[in-house]
């Protein structure tokens, strides 16, 4: 089974989780996801997801000027975002429990 197919459904959750403890700009979020082991996540998908979550009002953003390199747009979770993250985590756990039960002994 292709991991990228699975990723599509949970990319929102992954991005929200990557911003839970610390604000981050696009490339930073991408790096955090990679470091967590999500190698197959597409670069553009992460940027697009950040943009969509921002438009949906669960993220706020601010620009940090930098001496070298481009200005960076940082994203942070707002209260709506934290609520959404908590809900998504619960949904995810229920789902994985269910799948775990279903797949027990299959492998």
């Amino acid at each position: 089974m292709d991991t990228s197919q699975l990723l599509k459904g949970v990319l929102d959750l992954a991005v929200l989780a990557a911003l839970r403890d610390e604000d981050g700009y696009g490339y930073e979020v991408l790096r955090r996801l990679r470091q967590a082991g999500l190698d197959e996540v597409g670069d553009a998908s992460v940027y697009g997801t950040l943009r969509r979550l921002f438009r949906a009002g669960v993220l706020t953003s601010y620009v940090v000027p930098s001496e070298e390199g481009p200005h960076r747009k940082y994203y942070s979770l707002n209260d709506t975002g934290r609520t959404k993250l908590e809900e998504s985590v619960r949904t995810w756990k229920d789902f994985t429990d269910t799948m775990g039960q279903l797949l027990k002994g299959a492998a």
Partner: protein
């Protein structure tokens, strides 16, 4: 993000390709997203270092079209409709129709009194309908994305990307939405359209709604373009003053009072019968049964004092009742109203063969000389 660091040439060219792929989306959205793509490309270019080339960039990020498509999908925008390669006619005919509608709307706007004829309005509306039908039937890919592309291209050509002047004009846009609704409502009001105020409020709401929607949904450009032309025309007509030029059909004839006899204003009418005897009170009407009123600016004698009555007051009096009261000044400052004729008329003597069938049985015998038609002083 106003200041951008220079991207390496290959990265900039990649960015430009991505921009082209997203050109159907609202310009402000694209700018926001591309700011981050720029940041992304800058990071990736830095990591690739000396290995940076068109090929290495594509190995890492995929083709620009694929990158743009992934970005678009993840950001929740509709997939770009694939362009059907239809005939040139199918591509240009709807645009020509849009042009006709736009020109028609503009002409109506420049002189709403003279040009707002049903033919021109029908032509404009018809052209839009034909264009819409044609696009939906033959070229669904043109629906608005294509027109949006053209608008974005024109905008980019006119002003450089991210120019402060463009940004400033962008902030004025809602003002234009208010103005165009106000223009149409205002001119409608001047033309005496009933309920123009209600219509104006509706237009205002519509204009704002269209304004905001058009930024996201470029399909509305098919309607908004002719509507804007109409508003520009109206604005022009307001500036040049043609909108309120008195029309030939609506001249102020009903506002004129009075009658004239060989160039002299008639101030009173005295009626005599065939015998030269003065008739008492008569009421006079025209061919339509409307009361005949003379010049309403006339003096009346109220409580011995001569009062000049302005039209609204005097027209409330039964002024088609003749003779009108005539003022006689008895002494300085004291007046009196009389109704009798101030002259003796010369009623025509029917000694010559009368043309009427009912000949008078008794010949009138006027006491005064027959030719003294002039009123006695």
């Amino acid at each position: 993000m106003s200041t951008h660091t220079e991207l390496p040439v290959v990265a900039q060219s990649y960015l430009d390709s991505v921009r082209t792929e997203l050109s159907d989306l609202p310009a402000s959205e694209v700018d926001e997203m591309l700011d981050e793509v720029r940041e992304h490309l800058s990071e990736v270019s830095g990591e690739l270092g000396d290995d940076l080339s068109e090929q290495s960039l594509r190995d890492r990020l995929g083709l620009p079209a694929a990158y743009a498509n992934e970005l678009r999908t993840a950001a929740g925008y509709p997939v770009r409709e694939t362009v059907i390669r239809g005939s040139k006619f199918a591509e240009w005919f709807p645009v020509a129709c849009l042009g006709v509608a736009t020109v028609a709307a503009f002409i109506v706007g420049t002189d709403p009194r003279e040009h707002a004829n049903p033919l021109l309005i029908l032509l404009g509306l018809g052209a839009v309908a034909v264009a819409a039908g044609f696009v939906l039937r033959y070229r669904p890919d043109l629906r608005g994305l294509w027109l949006g592309d053209k608008v974005n291209q024109a905008r980019a050509a006119l002003t450089g990307q991210g120019s402060p002047a463009l940004a400033f004009i962008g902030t004025l846009q809602p003002g234009w939405w208010l103005l165009r609704a106000g223009l149409v409502a205002f001119v409608g009001l001047q033309l005496g359209t009933l309920g123009a105020l209600v219509v104006g409020a509706m237009l205002l709401a519509m204009s704002l709604w269209f304004g905001f929607r058009t930024k996201a949904d470029r399909r509305l450009l098919w309607i908004v373009t002719p509507a804007n032309a109409l508003a520009v025309g109206l604005l022009l007509s307001l500036i040049t003053g043609t909108a309120f030029r008195p029309s030939y059909y609506n001249a102020s004839v009903p506002q004129q009072y009075g009658m004239y006899n060989e160039g002299r204003s008639i101030e009173n009418i005295y009626a005599f019968d065939k015998d030269g005897k003065e008739l008492g009170t008569v009421y006079l009407y025209d061919q339509d049964g409307r009361p005949i009123k003379l010049d309403d600016h006339r003096a009346r004698c109220i409580e011995g004092r001569s009062v000049y009555l302005p039209p609204p007051t005097s027209s409330a009096l039964d002024s088609n009742k003749f003779p009108l009261p005539r003022l006689e000044e008895k002494q300085q400052g004291v007046c009196k109203e009389t109704t009798g004729a101030p002259f003796r008329p010369a009623v025509p003597v029917p000694t010559t063969a009368p043309t009427t069938t009912t000949a008078p049985t008794t010949a009138p015998a006027p006491t005064t000389a027959p030719q003294s038609a002039e009123p006695t002083q």
